[in-house]
Symmetry: C2
Subunit: 475 residues, 2 copies
């Protein structure tokens, strides 16, 4: 029986992680005793530089009572703009049946991304692309639930023809034609069953950006020093104690991560070269010469700056430097970059400016566009190492990378999926990590569904979490 | 006395040009006699493929009672998303004085484009970039009004040091450093006064995309056939008469344009090759071998498709083919393209993938980012031919190209600014064209201010124009 989509709702859900950044146990008790004025100072300080991890959270409902959940990840301010864009797209979804959509998924994708009027405010980039991802993620979730399968399994079970029919090849045919895509997928049928069994048994290799424990926020490692300097000015004594405490925490975190089987680590760099050198040296010493170390510069550098900085950090042997410069700068020769669409990925691959492809479940146009990027990466023989973390990115992207291994690349060499141990407790089917591997999810859907209570309390600005925080803010 | 900005308002203003497309004299009377059902059919038909030219219209006000007007151009649906993004940016503007902003304009630009949280939903692209342009255009308008000068004159009178202090060189220093920019501007001081006088006397050369008269919409030429086929199905007889009428209109338009001194023409291509060939042949015959013909493909092609299509149209000797493929596709070798930021322009220039630079007053980050692109284009010795048309784009971009000639390029060879004779009547200081040249505007400001009555009646969806149209729409 056809499932007609009759309703789409979207919510602005934010986690006050710019506060949480100071959330080690020592810091939490410090908060509790702090006067409001100090909290206000911290808030102002934080919200200007640090993210409040957020999502535009989409729920679609069918006349048959089924629901599909989707989201896109954002970092605080501006989430309301993505929410507005989702509403602008909702007219393309509501009123259609799931069968109509998936029966011509390429056409539906084109409808969303190339509407004659909406196209102007993109195309396929920024706000409207994030909104497209949220909406399409919900559609894929609905489809997987309707089939009673986790998304990765739905994809693995689809025929090459069905998969290809979900991809919009517009603007990429000079790098990958439909026929080539079909050939690649058909060739990869060999050994599929074995790889699926292997994944169910072992899981997909992960790397960690956090060295975190459930009690400690994941970015602690990278940002601590800066923040401590900021605090120093106003709270010298307390900070000195914390500084010592956090150093111990770092060592403990790294030790814990090593003990839990982690062998691949990522560190944020780019703020202060001297500081980067000190931290990278410390980490390399702790993990030893054989473990893998990656670095992420978060678009901080110009091209010249990137070259000299990276040269200084080379002794610590990073496998890659992530986002050294503007995400638009193909000729800036990134080694790995988060692109906003398949056209950008295509060029990075064509220009050999990319040695690793870093897909994103919420920045590209959902599963559809990720399929095209996985296939192009395979054609150009570049390993895919997904970006994750944030809110829900781990939950979502695990499906795509499992599909990539089972049905496309058949290769684990130099491949791994990012993992950050953070905010998973807000999801109904959180990721399961065992021995530094993602275990394939078993629940039907795309693992996008959040706990109703989490959504409700974290809605911005009305949810109780924000209402309380904003009440404490100065005027 | 410092002018503190105390208020920012933004409005969603749309012109129902997707209807107007059928607005030849013959068509208007046809509309008047049409039953509502037919109008509804036409509306549905039109709004799915054709633009409703629109703006997100920004007004800022100071405590001293001054106002600055800014806008960004959009094409209908999605304008509300840009409006939402402007609101999200307003917190960075309101509360600041004009003096603070222009005293560190580079810093203010960085604040708007690189806020730690908002950056995620861009950066510097799509919705947030359009919103940034609207806000900054209003700031530049305010500044020019405060100085009592038209914007181009404000720019021309600024010292090289002041100009450079408005530019964010982030991500472009590998193509243009601050010192190089200063050197270029200093060198161009020679002959500035003469060039300014020349511009005041002769104006800046324009080309037309429309061949239009005030009574005829500018896109008539390019879209007519498709629409007529659509109508044919339902209204065969009437259409046959119109078809003949429009053919006469075309010939008349082109003849009129030639008679008014136009020597450079642009035609839209990319829908049907045979049709393109027929129209390009006709135009080339009418304008003769010596006049300049340009073509615009509006991102319709893949790379391979572009090459074969362009080969077929080569006999009609286009000077350029605009936007042959995705605007993100640097390696797709555009000859001319509208880029969304300086980083994209930089690469097109570095890759020699661009033979003409087409700046846009509302897609780039206002005057600030256009300054950097004008300077890069000059360094790479590529002529700048601005994109205009839409709503207000002609009004705004004339200031930038006048500045470019007087203070940067000092060259008119192969240079011209697009002109479309459309919607100027809604502005308080509309462009003045004489003998196919833009005459330098004299009123203080950036020519962004619209008539209050136009804004009021065209607000979407509440303004009377839309209220009436929507009342006629089916259910």
């Amino acid at each position: 029986m056809p499932q007609k989509i009759v309703k789409l709702t979207v919510k602005d859900v934010r986690f006050p992680t710019s506060l949480g950044q100071h959330g080690s146990d020592a810091m939490v008790s410090y908060y509790r005793t702090m006067p409001t004025r100090t909290l206000a100072f911290l808030r102002m300080y934080c919200t200007h530089t640090d993210p409040d991890y957020s999502v535009a959270y989409v729920v679609i409902e069918t006349d048959g009572g089924m629901k599909g959940y989707g989201l896109t990840f954002t970092v605080g301010r501006g989430t309301e703009v993505v929410v507005c864009a989702v509403k602008a797209l909702s007219g393309f979804v509501v009123g259609k049946t799931l069968e109509e959509i998936v029966g011509d998924f390429r056409g539906f994708y084109r409808l969303l991304t190339s509407d004659g009027q909406m196209r102007w405010i993109g195309p396929e980039k920024g706000v409207i692309q994030l909104a497209t991802a949220a909406v399409l993620n919900a559609v894929w979730d609905l489809w997987a639930r309707a089939e009673g399968k986790p998304l990765w399994k739905l994809l693995v079970d689809m025929s090459p023809e069905q998969l290809v029919s979900c991809i919009d090849f517009r603007y990429i045919t000079d790098a990958l034609t439909e026929q080539e895509a079909l050939d690649l997928l058909r060739k990869a049928q060999t050994g599929k069953t074995e790889r699926e069994e292997q994944m169910l048994k072992e899981g997909y290799p992960a790397y960690t950006t956090s060295f975190s424990t459930p009690h400690l926020p994941p970015w602690l490692w990278s940002y601590t020093d800066t923040i401590l300097v900021g605090l120093w000015v106003k709270h010298m004594t307390i900070v000195f104690i914390q500084c010592l405490a956090l150093l111990c925490v770092h060592v403990k975190l790294c030790t814990d991560a090593l003990a839990s089987g982690w062998s691949r680590f990522k560190v944020k760099v780019g703020a202060e070269l001297e500081d980067d050198e000190r931290r990278c040296r410390l980490i390399r010493q702790m993990i030893g010469p054989d473990k893998t170390l990656m670095m992420d510069a978060n678009q901080r550098w110009d091209v010249g700056e990137a070259i000299s900085w990276v040269t200084s950090l080379a002794p610590f042997r990073p496998l890659w430097i992530e986002e050294p410069t503007s995400p638009d700068d193909i000729l800036g020769h990134a080694t790995i970059s988060k692109c906003h669409n398949r056209v950008m990925f295509k060029q990075f691959l064509q220009a050999s400016a990319l040695q690793f492809v870093q897909i994103d479940s919420c920045r590209l146009g959902s599963v559809n566009e990720n399929l095209s990027v996985l296939l192009m990466a395979h054609k150009f023989q570049v390993p895919v190492c997904p970006h994750a973390g944030g809110v829900g990115l781990c939950e979502l992207v695990q499906h795509l990378i499992l599909f990539d291994y089972i049905s496309v690349s058949a290769d684990l060499n130099n491949r791994m999926c990012e993992y950050v141990d953070h905010l998973h407790e807000h999801f109904t089917s959180p990721v399961v990590i065992r021995n530094a591997h993602y275990l394939p999810p078993k629940d039907p859907g795309y693992s996008c569904e959040m706990l109703e209570s989490s959504v409700e309390t974290h809605q911005f600005p009305g949810g109780v979490v924000w209402a309380n925080l904003l009440a404490k803010a100065p005027e």
